[in-house]
Amino acid sequence: MSQVLYPNVDLFLYDLHDGLGVSRGQLGQSRRRFWQRIYGNGRLTDAKLAELQSTEKSFSGYVELLGSERFEDFSDDLEGYYYPVKLGDTYALQVNCAGKKDTAWEALPLVTKLRQTKKIVLEHTQNIPGGIGQNWLVWAQLTEPHQDPVEVAKDCCTALDVIPSANWQFDLKGKGSHQEAMLFEFERRDEILDGSNDNRYVLVCLFPHYFSQDEIAEFLNQFYRDLIYLFYYRNKILWAYEQSCQIKDKLKDCSGVIQKIIKSLPTYVAASSLDLKQLQIDLSTALQVSHLYETSLGYLQDHLFTIKINTGNYSDRILELAKLDTDKDAERAREKLSDPDSLGFLKRFGDFAERNCLGQIQVDYEALSAGLKPLDNFIRAVEGITEIEKAKNERTFNRTVAAASVGISAASLFASSYTGQAAEIVQTVLPVPANTPPPAINTLLTFGSAFVGSLLFGICGAVATWYLSNRIKRS
């Protein structure tokens, strides 16, 4: 069993806080969730939350959330602390533990110590996982020159049990060195597309036996900061990539629905008479799907930017890290990043992000953007059909109005010119002696003949107009 000095376990947790489109209520919830890890429910009052919130107000991309205190130490019987910071839109929390402050602890074997330390760390996060990801770091100092660091690193990873039933051939993803410290990267990426972002990652950092405490402290002073950034970029890339894949899946589902919708188009084009109600339903469905598709594309584009920016930041940060090994010489630092025995293992993730995440999402975005065109065409075609149908209906209405107008005019003209003569005609047919009031039948006939005559005249006028307008339409 490996023996090492100062075995420490660190957990780095990341929560997206004030991203785009987050409501005030959601901000409050995520703030409470973050600080609950440190203060639990009991100590986290509204007043305390308001006080903590005030430290967030800074233009800086890196804000130490405990102000000048910087750290919140564990209780007196434990060696450990919290270090909360805010990186842009994300909360980051480093939880460190080196075990218990008692003599019995020192006598425990390494594996037991690490297992118990991990348990303490998790208890100190209230078992609230990182929203967009989390990473483990184990660091320790070797006790003698002939110790096999690979075996020690494997022992550390086994003890932590973050990667269940680890297979070293696959799970030991990389190893290298930085300022003489030996680094081992164990990783098992989440391959289940469920949004849980369950990536398992352990970095083991072993210092050579000849390092003094001061040298270790100086190394970690800078390395911790670099890791806080590197893990942030890394988690954001993986989180955005997983969500992008989920969005891509939804866009594929939308495409299936789009296909169903556009298949109905030839039926409408060929139909002799249109079911306007059905057309309206299909148009509203198409608009609904179009909205979903466009919104999904918007999210995909956002994630594309997120991956692009964070991939660039990751590459810049590992270059800065490598420069520490080369007296700030950028050219030699790049060589170090290409060296698999040095910091090449860190570049491996950068390459993966560039090629698999960024490259893939870029291609997907372009391909899926094209999927919207058939739906746009369908919507335009249906709108066109509706317009034609509307114009058709309007024309029919206009002809009806014209025929009715002519009919009414003709009837009015007949009534006005005939009513005066109607009494004389009736007098001729049914004469009434002088100084005798006309009988009721004469009055009835006078008005009746005027009414029937104007009605017939009006109908003839209307029919003639309808017939003529039909002829004009056909010609």
Partner: protein
């Protein structure tokens, strides 16, 4: 034997206990020589441990631990001395990016899309149902 000598001896034994491979013969010979007159030469064990690479680390750690005691001075603390340094204001923090979480939207689309799809499949579902009359009634009632 003084207190300091006792601590040296205990730390030396701890360092020996930590060894997994044999010590160089010169070191074991020197140890045997010191052991002849141990009471007067304990301090030499300190020199020997500090001069032997495999003993140096655990010896120094154990001696420090024995002298300062558990939970003693900050120097002995197991993690207190190794923490993230204060951020350098000129240190590049990278380009800032404000991400948009799609998880709520993904849940929403999970519910809406099947409903739309079902609406489109409705005629086929009714016509292919074992009892089309019941199917159409069910949908109307639902």
């Amino acid at each position: 034997m003084t207190d300091n000598e006792t601590q040296i001896l205990r730390a030396f034994f701890y360092a020996l206990f930590q060894q997994q491979t044999a010590l160089p013969s010169a070191v074991t010979a020197k140890m045997a020589e010191i052991a002849q007159t141990l009471n007067t030469r304990v301090a030499e064990l300190d020199t020997l441990a500090m001069a032997t690479p495999s003993l140096e680390g655990p010896y120094e750690y154990a001696f420090d631990w024995l002298v300062n005691g558990p939970g003693g001075a900050a120097e002995r603390s197991m993690s207190g001395w190794a923490r993230p340094g204060e951020i350098d204001k000129v240190e590049p923090s990278g380009r800032q990016n404000v991400a948009r979480d799609a998880s709520d939207y993904l849940q929403e689309i999970d519910q809406v899309l099947p409903m739309i799809s079902k609406k489109l499949d409705y005629p086929a579902q009714v016509l292919t149902a074992s009892d089309p009359v019941e199917a159409i009634h069910q949908d109307t009632e639902g």
